[in-house]
Protein backbone atom coordinates (compact mmCIF):
# COMPACT_ATOMS: atom_id res chain seq x y z
CA UNK A 1 0.00 0.00 0.00
CA UNK A 2 1.44 3.36 -0.98
CA UNK A 3 1.53 6.35 1.33
CA UNK A 4 -0.93 8.26 -0.88
CA UNK A 5 -3.46 5.40 -0.87
CA UNK A 6 -3.13 5.24 2.88
CA UNK A 7 -3.58 8.99 3.29
CA UNK A 8 -6.72 9.05 1.14
CA UNK A 9 -8.21 6.03 2.91
CA UNK A 10 -7.38 7.18 6.43
CA UNK A 11 -7.49 10.96 5.90
CA UNK A 12 -10.28 11.75 8.36
CA UNK A 13 -8.84 9.59 11.10
CA UNK A 14 -5.38 11.09 10.59
CA UNK A 15 -6.80 14.60 10.70
CA UNK A 16 -8.45 13.73 14.02
CA UNK A 17 -5.17 12.42 15.45
CA UNK A 18 -3.31 15.45 14.12
CA UNK A 19 -5.75 17.83 15.82
CA UNK A 20 -5.45 15.77 19.01
CA UNK A 21 -1.66 16.06 18.79
CA UNK A 22 -1.86 19.80 18.12
CA UNK A 23 -4.31 20.14 21.03
CA UNK A 24 -2.07 18.50 23.61
CA UNK A 25 0.91 20.51 22.32
CA UNK A 26 -0.98 23.81 22.59
CA UNK A 27 -2.28 23.01 26.07
CA UNK A 28 1.19 22.01 27.26
CA UNK A 29 2.91 25.02 25.66
CA UNK A 30 0.26 27.29 27.21
CA UNK A 31 0.75 25.94 30.74
CA UNK A 32 4.51 25.87 30.28
CA UNK A 33 4.44 29.53 29.20
CA UNK A 34 2.44 30.66 32.23
CA UNK A 35 4.68 28.78 34.68
CA UNK A 36 7.91 29.53 32.82
CA UNK A 37 7.35 33.28 32.46
CA UNK A 38 6.24 33.50 36.09
CA UNK A 39 9.38 31.64 37.21
CA UNK A 40 11.54 33.88 35.06
CA UNK A 41 9.91 37.07 36.38
CA UNK A 42 10.25 35.84 39.96
CA UNK A 43 13.93 34.95 39.69
CA UNK A 44 15.62 37.19 37.12
CA UNK A 45 16.88 39.76 39.61
CA UNK A 46 18.55 37.49 42.16
CA UNK A 47 21.42 35.20 41.29
CA UNK A 48 20.69 32.26 43.62
CA UNK A 49 17.03 31.64 42.76
CA UNK A 50 17.80 32.30 39.09
CA UNK A 51 20.40 29.56 39.06
CA UNK A 52 18.07 27.13 40.84
CA UNK A 53 15.24 27.83 38.37
CA UNK A 54 17.55 27.25 35.40
CA UNK A 55 19.19 24.22 37.01
CA UNK A 56 16.00 22.42 37.94
CA UNK A 57 14.26 23.04 34.61
CA UNK A 58 17.50 22.02 32.86
CA UNK A 59 17.53 18.70 34.69
CA UNK A 60 13.96 18.03 33.54
CA UNK A 61 15.20 18.08 29.95
CA UNK A 62 18.04 15.66 30.74
CA UNK A 63 15.60 13.00 31.98
CA UNK A 64 14.67 10.65 29.11
CA UNK A 65 11.01 11.11 28.20
CA UNK A 66 10.14 7.42 28.59
CA UNK A 67 11.47 7.52 32.17
CA UNK A 68 9.61 10.73 33.00
CA UNK A 69 6.34 9.36 31.63
CA UNK A 70 6.99 6.20 33.66
CA UNK A 71 7.59 8.17 36.87
CA UNK A 72 4.36 10.11 36.39
CA UNK A 73 2.16 7.01 36.01
CA UNK A 74 2.36 6.38 39.76
CA UNK A 75 0.88 9.71 40.90
CA UNK A 76 -1.18 10.53 37.79
CA UNK A 77 -2.19 7.24 36.16
CA UNK A 78 -2.36 6.72 32.41
CA UNK A 79 -3.70 9.02 29.69
CA UNK A 80 -3.59 12.73 28.95
CA UNK A 81 -2.72 13.81 32.52
CA UNK A 82 0.82 12.48 32.83
CA UNK A 83 1.40 13.38 29.17
CA UNK A 84 0.57 17.07 29.72
CA UNK A 85 2.59 17.27 32.97
CA UNK A 86 5.67 15.73 31.32
CA UNK A 87 5.39 17.95 28.25
CA UNK A 88 4.99 21.06 30.42
CA UNK A 89 8.16 20.07 32.30
CA UNK A 90 10.08 19.68 29.03
CA UNK A 91 8.95 23.09 27.80
CA UNK A 92 10.02 25.04 30.89
CA UNK A 93 13.77 25.49 30.37
CA UNK A 94 13.69 27.45 27.08
CA UNK A 95 10.89 29.68 28.38
CA UNK A 96 12.45 30.36 31.81
CA UNK A 97 15.85 30.88 30.22
CA UNK A 98 14.64 33.32 27.60
CA UNK A 99 12.42 35.20 30.05
CA UNK A 100 15.46 35.74 32.27
CA UNK A 101 17.72 36.64 29.33
CA UNK A 102 15.08 38.96 27.90
CA UNK A 103 14.37 40.79 31.15
CA UNK A 104 18.05 41.14 31.94
CA UNK A 105 18.78 42.56 28.50
CA UNK A 106 16.45 45.52 29.09
CA UNK A 107 18.54 48.69 29.32
CA UNK A 108 18.66 49.71 33.03
CA UNK A 109 18.50 53.38 31.97
CA UNK A 110 15.02 52.81 30.52
CA UNK A 111 13.83 51.12 33.70
CA UNK A 112 15.32 53.91 35.75
CA UNK A 113 13.62 56.63 33.73
CA UNK A 114 10.30 54.79 34.15
CA UNK A 115 10.98 54.77 37.87
CA UNK A 116 11.83 58.47 37.74
CA UNK A 117 8.48 59.09 36.03
CA UNK A 118 6.90 57.59 39.14
CA UNK A 119 5.94 54.18 37.71
CA UNK A 120 5.48 51.54 40.39
CA UNK A 121 7.34 48.22 40.29
CA UNK A 122 4.49 46.22 38.69
CA UNK A 123 3.66 48.91 36.18
CA UNK A 124 7.31 49.02 35.17
CA UNK A 125 7.33 45.26 34.75
CA UNK A 126 4.16 45.06 32.66
CA UNK A 127 4.47 48.32 30.70
CA UNK A 128 8.23 48.50 30.13
CA UNK A 129 10.27 45.40 30.93
CA UNK A 130 8.05 42.59 29.67
CA UNK A 131 7.15 44.32 26.37
CA UNK A 132 10.85 44.98 25.69
CA UNK A 133 11.79 41.39 26.58
CA UNK A 134 8.85 39.88 24.69
CA UNK A 135 10.59 39.01 21.37
CA UNK A 136 13.20 36.96 23.26
CA UNK A 137 10.56 35.34 25.50
CA UNK A 138 8.53 34.45 22.42
CA UNK A 139 11.56 32.73 20.87
CA UNK A 140 11.82 30.63 24.02
CA UNK A 141 8.17 29.64 23.76
CA UNK A 142 8.72 28.70 20.12
CA UNK A 143 11.67 26.46 20.99
CA UNK A 144 9.57 24.88 23.75
CA UNK A 145 6.83 24.19 21.22
CA UNK A 146 9.25 22.44 18.84
CA UNK A 147 10.58 20.27 21.68
CA UNK A 148 7.06 19.41 22.84
CA UNK A 149 5.74 18.48 19.36
CA UNK A 150 8.37 15.74 19.03
CA UNK A 151 8.19 14.38 22.58
CA UNK A 152 4.38 14.31 22.46
CA UNK A 153 4.76 11.36 20.08
CA UNK A 154 6.16 9.31 22.97
CA UNK A 155 3.16 10.15 25.19
CA UNK A 156 1.34 7.32 23.45
CA UNK A 157 3.22 4.81 25.64
CA UNK A 158 1.22 6.06 28.61
CA UNK A 159 -1.99 6.09 26.52
CA UNK A 160 -1.61 9.78 25.78
CA UNK A 161 -3.36 11.34 22.78
CA UNK A 162 -1.95 12.24 19.37
CA UNK A 163 -0.11 10.87 16.35
CA UNK A 164 2.22 8.79 18.53
CA UNK A 165 -0.65 6.33 18.86
CA UNK A 166 -0.30 5.51 15.17
CA UNK A 167 3.46 4.97 15.49
CA UNK A 168 2.88 2.34 18.18
CA UNK A 169 -0.10 0.84 16.29
CA UNK A 170 2.09 0.48 13.22
CA UNK A 171 4.70 -1.29 15.34
CA UNK A 172 2.04 -3.68 16.61
CA UNK A 173 1.09 -4.40 12.95
CA UNK A 174 4.66 -5.34 12.11
CA UNK A 175 4.84 -6.98 8.67
CA UNK A 176 1.41 -5.94 7.42
CA UNK A 177 1.22 -3.72 4.29
CA UNK A 178 -0.26 -0.75 6.18
CA UNK A 179 2.43 -0.58 8.86
CA UNK A 180 4.97 1.49 6.90
CA UNK A 181 2.49 4.06 5.46
CA UNK A 182 0.95 4.34 8.91
CA UNK A 183 4.22 5.28 10.63
CA UNK A 184 5.26 7.51 7.72
CA UNK A 185 2.01 9.44 7.82
CA UNK A 186 2.36 9.91 11.58
CA UNK A 187 5.92 11.25 11.19
CA UNK A 188 4.87 13.56 8.36
CA UNK A 189 1.89 14.76 10.40
CA UNK A 190 4.18 15.64 13.31
CA UNK A 191 6.60 17.50 11.02
CA UNK A 192 3.63 19.36 9.51
CA UNK A 193 2.45 20.40 12.98
CA UNK A 194 5.95 21.67 13.80
CA UNK A 195 6.06 23.73 10.60
CA UNK A 196 2.56 25.17 11.15
CA UNK A 197 3.41 26.12 14.74
CA UNK A 198 6.66 27.67 13.59
CA UNK A 199 4.88 29.80 10.99
CA UNK A 200 2.23 30.73 13.53
CA UNK A 201 4.97 32.05 15.80
CA UNK A 202 6.31 34.28 13.04
CA UNK A 203 2.82 35.80 12.80
CA UNK A 204 2.43 36.02 16.58
CA UNK A 205 5.79 37.77 16.83
CA UNK A 206 4.66 40.39 14.28
CA UNK A 207 1.34 40.95 15.99
CA UNK A 208 2.47 41.06 19.59
CA UNK A 209 5.80 42.87 19.41
CA UNK A 210 5.51 46.40 20.75
CA UNK A 211 5.51 48.99 17.92
CA UNK A 212 8.54 50.83 19.21
CA UNK A 213 10.87 47.83 18.93
CA UNK A 214 9.49 46.20 15.80
CA UNK A 215 12.23 45.62 13.25
Amino acid sequence: MSLLDYLSAQGDRLLGLTLEHLGIVLISVGISTVIGVALGVATYRTEGPRRVALGVTGIFLTIPSFALFGLLIGPLGLGGGPAVVALVMYGLLPIVRNTITGLRSVDPAIVESAQGMGMARYRRLFRIELPLAWPIILTGIRVAAVIIVGIAAIAAVVNGPGLGKDIFRALARFGTPTAVPQVLSAILGIIAIAIVIDLAFVAIARLTTSKGIRA
Binding site: V143, G150, I154, V158, I187
Partner: protein, 268 residues
Amino acid sequence: MVLAGPPEDQGGVDALSLVAGGTDIFRRSRGVLGLVGLPIALAAAVAVLFLWVGNKQLDSIEQRRVNPEFITNALAEHMALAFTSTILVILIAVPLGIILTRPGARAVMPPVITLANMGQAVPSIGVLVLLALVWDIGFWPAIVALVAYAILPVLRNTMVGLQQVDASVIEAGRGMGMTKGAVLREIELPLAVPVILAGVRTALVINVGTATLATFVNAGGLGDIINGGLVANKQTVIVVGSVLTAAVAMFIDHLGGIAESRLSPKGL
Protein backbone atom coordinates in the same frame (compact mmCIF):
# COMPACT_ATOMS: atom_id res chain seq x y z
CA MET B 1 12.26 30.62 11.89
CA VAL B 2 13.39 28.07 14.38
CA LEU B 3 13.31 25.42 11.68
CA ALA B 4 14.98 27.49 9.00
CA GLY B 5 17.15 30.08 10.66
CA PRO B 6 20.69 29.60 11.91
CA PRO B 7 20.89 29.15 15.68
CA GLU B 8 22.48 32.53 16.30
CA ASP B 9 19.29 34.19 15.05
CA GLN B 10 17.33 32.64 17.88
CA GLY B 11 18.96 34.34 20.80
CA GLY B 12 21.38 31.45 21.09
CA VAL B 13 18.80 28.81 21.89
CA ASP B 14 17.63 25.88 19.89
CA ALA B 15 15.78 22.78 20.86
CA LEU B 16 18.59 20.25 20.50
CA SER B 17 21.36 22.02 22.37
CA LEU B 18 19.19 22.43 25.47
CA VAL B 19 19.08 18.69 26.13
CA ALA B 20 22.57 18.56 27.60
CA GLY B 21 23.92 20.68 30.43
CA GLY B 22 21.10 20.22 32.91
CA THR B 23 23.45 18.86 35.54
CA ASP B 24 25.93 21.75 35.20
CA ILE B 25 24.35 23.39 38.22
CA PHE B 26 25.92 20.65 40.35
CA ARG B 27 29.38 21.30 38.96
CA ARG B 28 29.30 24.96 39.92
CA SER B 29 30.71 24.32 43.35
CA ARG B 30 34.46 24.42 43.29
CA GLY B 31 36.82 21.51 43.80
CA VAL B 32 35.91 17.95 44.62
CA LEU B 33 32.28 18.65 45.54
CA GLY B 34 31.59 19.87 42.00
CA LEU B 35 32.93 16.59 40.64
CA VAL B 36 31.39 14.10 43.07
CA GLY B 37 28.38 16.00 44.42
CA LEU B 38 25.96 14.81 41.74
CA PRO B 39 27.24 11.19 41.61
CA ILE B 40 26.83 10.98 45.41
CA ALA B 41 23.29 12.39 45.23
CA LEU B 42 22.40 9.95 42.45
CA ALA B 43 23.94 7.00 44.30
CA ALA B 44 21.91 7.97 47.37
CA ALA B 45 18.73 8.10 45.27
CA VAL B 46 19.43 4.67 43.80
CA ALA B 47 20.24 3.30 47.27
CA VAL B 48 16.89 4.59 48.57
CA LEU B 49 15.21 2.99 45.57
CA PHE B 50 16.76 -0.40 46.32
CA LEU B 51 15.95 -0.18 50.03
CA TRP B 52 12.33 0.52 49.06
CA VAL B 53 12.29 -2.42 46.66
CA GLY B 54 14.12 -4.64 49.14
CA ASN B 55 11.33 -4.15 51.68
CA LYS B 56 8.70 -5.25 49.19
CA GLN B 57 7.56 -8.75 48.48
CA LEU B 58 8.16 -9.05 44.75
CA ASP B 59 6.04 -11.52 42.83
CA SER B 60 7.53 -13.68 40.11
CA ILE B 61 6.68 -11.24 37.31
CA GLU B 62 8.37 -8.40 39.16
CA GLN B 63 11.38 -10.54 40.01
CA ARG B 64 11.95 -11.29 36.36
CA ARG B 65 12.75 -7.62 35.70
CA VAL B 66 13.95 -6.39 39.09
CA ASN B 67 17.00 -8.53 39.73
CA PRO B 68 20.72 -7.75 39.54
CA GLU B 69 21.38 -9.72 36.34
CA PHE B 70 18.50 -8.24 34.38
CA ILE B 71 19.35 -4.69 35.48
CA THR B 72 23.10 -5.03 34.79
CA ASN B 73 22.38 -6.53 31.42
CA ALA B 74 19.92 -3.76 30.51
CA LEU B 75 22.43 -1.15 31.66
CA ALA B 76 25.22 -2.72 29.59
CA GLU B 77 22.97 -2.82 26.52
CA HIS B 78 21.99 0.78 27.12
CA MET B 79 25.60 1.93 27.33
CA ALA B 80 26.50 -0.07 24.21
CA LEU B 81 23.67 1.64 22.31
CA ALA B 82 24.48 5.14 23.58
CA PHE B 83 28.26 5.03 23.20
CA THR B 84 28.42 3.12 19.89
CA SER B 85 26.00 5.57 18.32
CA THR B 86 27.83 8.60 19.74
CA ILE B 87 31.21 7.36 18.46
CA LEU B 88 29.71 6.77 15.01
CA VAL B 89 28.16 10.24 15.14
CA ILE B 90 31.59 11.80 15.83
CA LEU B 91 33.25 9.74 13.09
CA ILE B 92 30.66 10.84 10.53
CA ALA B 93 29.72 14.37 11.58
CA VAL B 94 33.11 15.93 12.34
CA PRO B 95 34.77 15.05 8.98
CA LEU B 96 31.57 15.97 7.15
CA GLY B 97 31.44 19.29 8.99
CA ILE B 98 35.09 19.96 8.04
CA ILE B 99 34.43 19.17 4.37
CA LEU B 100 31.32 21.33 4.27
CA THR B 101 33.16 24.36 5.66
CA ARG B 102 36.03 24.25 3.13
CA PRO B 103 35.90 27.25 0.76
CA GLY B 104 34.56 25.26 -2.23
CA ALA B 105 31.63 23.83 -0.28
CA ARG B 106 30.46 26.86 1.67
CA ALA B 107 27.39 27.28 -0.52
CA VAL B 108 25.90 24.05 0.82
CA MET B 109 26.15 25.18 4.44
CA PRO B 110 22.85 27.12 4.73
CA PRO B 111 20.73 24.24 3.37
CA VAL B 112 22.53 21.76 5.63
CA ILE B 113 21.87 23.96 8.66
CA THR B 114 18.22 24.27 7.62
CA LEU B 115 18.01 20.50 7.31
CA ALA B 116 19.69 20.10 10.70
CA ASN B 117 17.12 22.41 12.27
CA MET B 118 14.22 20.71 10.48
CA GLY B 119 15.44 17.42 11.94
CA GLN B 120 14.48 18.66 15.40
CA ALA B 121 10.84 18.22 14.49
CA VAL B 122 11.20 14.54 13.54
CA PRO B 123 10.09 12.35 16.45
CA SER B 124 12.78 9.91 17.56
CA ILE B 125 10.32 7.09 18.19
CA GLY B 126 9.09 7.50 14.60
CA VAL B 127 12.60 7.05 13.19
CA LEU B 128 13.19 3.95 15.34
CA VAL B 129 9.89 2.33 14.38
CA LEU B 130 10.24 3.21 10.70
CA LEU B 131 13.70 1.63 10.51
CA ALA B 132 12.46 -1.45 12.36
CA LEU B 133 9.62 -1.82 9.86
CA VAL B 134 11.55 -1.26 6.64
CA TRP B 135 14.77 -2.93 7.72
CA ASP B 136 14.95 -5.05 10.85
CA ILE B 137 14.64 -5.03 14.60
CA GLY B 138 17.58 -5.28 16.99
CA PHE B 139 20.86 -3.52 17.79
CA TRP B 140 22.12 -2.21 14.43
CA PRO B 141 18.87 -0.73 13.10
CA ALA B 142 18.49 0.99 16.48
CA ILE B 143 22.06 2.31 16.17
CA VAL B 144 21.30 3.73 12.71
CA ALA B 145 18.20 5.47 14.08
CA LEU B 146 20.18 6.89 17.02
CA VAL B 147 22.96 8.10 14.72
CA ALA B 148 20.48 9.70 12.32
CA TYR B 149 18.83 11.50 15.17
CA ALA B 150 21.94 12.68 17.03
CA ILE B 151 24.15 13.56 14.05
CA LEU B 152 22.61 17.00 13.67
CA PRO B 153 24.01 18.76 16.76
CA VAL B 154 27.57 17.54 16.09
CA LEU B 155 27.44 18.37 12.38
CA ARG B 156 26.03 21.80 13.06
CA ASN B 157 28.40 22.58 15.91
CA THR B 158 31.42 21.46 13.87
CA MET B 159 30.40 23.81 11.07
CA VAL B 160 29.53 26.70 13.37
CA GLY B 161 32.70 26.13 15.42
CA LEU B 162 34.93 26.20 12.34
CA GLN B 163 33.15 29.17 10.82
CA GLN B 164 33.51 31.36 13.87
CA VAL B 165 37.31 31.10 13.70
CA ASP B 166 38.61 34.58 12.97
CA ALA B 167 39.63 34.80 9.29
CA SER B 168 42.64 36.94 10.20
CA VAL B 169 44.01 34.15 12.40
CA ILE B 170 43.77 31.74 9.46
CA GLU B 171 45.43 34.27 7.20
CA ALA B 172 48.23 34.79 9.71
CA GLY B 173 48.81 31.03 9.70
CA ARG B 174 48.91 30.92 5.91
CA GLY B 175 51.21 33.94 5.89
CA MET B 176 53.62 32.09 8.18
CA GLY B 177 53.87 29.45 5.45
CA MET B 178 51.56 26.85 6.98
CA THR B 179 49.78 24.58 4.51
CA LYS B 180 45.98 24.49 4.44
CA GLY B 181 46.06 21.13 6.22
CA ALA B 182 48.33 22.49 8.93
CA VAL B 183 46.10 25.54 9.40
CA LEU B 184 43.13 23.21 9.80
CA ARG B 185 44.89 20.90 12.25
CA GLU B 186 46.78 23.43 14.30
CA ILE B 187 44.56 26.53 14.21
CA GLU B 188 40.98 25.94 13.06
CA LEU B 189 40.18 22.65 14.79
CA PRO B 190 41.70 23.54 18.19
CA LEU B 191 39.77 26.81 18.16
CA ALA B 192 36.55 25.00 17.22
CA VAL B 193 36.96 22.21 19.79
CA PRO B 194 34.83 23.78 22.58
CA VAL B 195 31.85 24.21 20.24
CA ILE B 196 32.30 20.72 18.76
CA LEU B 197 32.54 19.19 22.25
CA ALA B 198 29.30 20.89 23.27
CA GLY B 199 27.69 19.24 20.26
CA VAL B 200 29.16 15.84 21.15
CA ARG B 201 27.85 16.12 24.70
CA THR B 202 24.40 17.00 23.36
CA ALA B 203 24.52 14.00 21.02
CA LEU B 204 25.53 11.70 23.88
CA VAL B 205 22.68 12.88 26.11
CA ILE B 206 20.20 12.59 23.23
CA ASN B 207 21.44 9.06 22.56
CA VAL B 208 21.11 8.03 26.21
CA GLY B 209 17.53 9.31 26.10
CA THR B 210 16.58 7.82 22.74
CA ALA B 211 18.18 4.47 23.64
CA THR B 212 15.43 4.18 26.26
CA LEU B 213 13.03 3.70 23.33
CA ALA B 214 15.17 0.95 21.77
CA THR B 215 13.16 -1.58 23.77
CA PHE B 216 10.27 -1.09 21.32
CA VAL B 217 12.42 -2.42 18.47
CA ASN B 218 13.89 -5.30 20.49
CA ALA B 219 17.25 -3.64 20.95
CA GLY B 220 17.26 -3.84 24.75
CA GLY B 221 18.47 -1.16 27.13
CA LEU B 222 16.99 0.27 30.30
CA GLY B 223 13.68 0.82 28.50
CA ASP B 224 13.23 -2.97 28.80
CA ILE B 225 12.64 -2.56 32.52
CA ILE B 226 10.15 0.33 32.18
CA ASN B 227 8.32 -1.31 29.29
CA GLY B 228 8.26 -4.67 31.07
CA GLY B 229 6.58 -2.96 34.00
CA LEU B 230 4.11 -1.18 31.72
CA VAL B 231 3.14 -4.33 29.85
CA ALA B 232 2.67 -6.35 33.05
CA ASN B 233 1.11 -3.35 34.83
CA LYS B 234 3.63 -3.54 37.67
CA GLN B 235 4.16 -0.14 39.26
CA THR B 236 7.29 -1.19 41.19
CA VAL B 237 9.04 -2.30 38.01
CA ILE B 238 8.11 0.93 36.20
CA VAL B 239 9.49 3.04 39.07
CA VAL B 240 12.74 1.05 39.29
CA GLY B 241 13.29 1.34 35.53
CA SER B 242 12.39 5.02 35.38
CA VAL B 243 14.50 6.11 38.35
CA LEU B 244 17.52 4.12 37.14
CA THR B 245 17.17 5.56 33.63
CA ALA B 246 16.88 9.12 34.90
CA ALA B 247 19.88 8.63 37.21
CA VAL B 248 22.00 7.18 34.39
CA ALA B 249 21.06 10.04 32.04
CA MET B 250 22.01 12.65 34.63
CA PHE B 251 25.27 10.86 35.44
CA ILE B 252 26.22 10.70 31.75
CA ASP B 253 25.40 14.39 31.29
CA HIS B 254 27.61 15.10 34.32
CA LEU B 255 30.50 13.08 32.82
CA GLY B 256 29.93 14.87 29.53
CA GLY B 257 30.23 18.21 31.31
CA ILE B 258 33.50 17.20 32.97
CA ALA B 259 34.88 15.93 29.66
CA GLU B 260 33.77 19.11 27.95
CA SER B 261 35.68 21.34 30.33
CA ARG B 262 38.73 19.06 30.57
CA LEU B 263 39.18 18.48 26.85
CA SER B 264 38.82 22.08 25.73
CA PRO B 265 42.21 23.53 24.83
CA LYS B 266 43.70 25.73 27.50
CA GLY B 267 44.02 29.39 26.71
CA LEU B 268 40.53 29.68 25.25
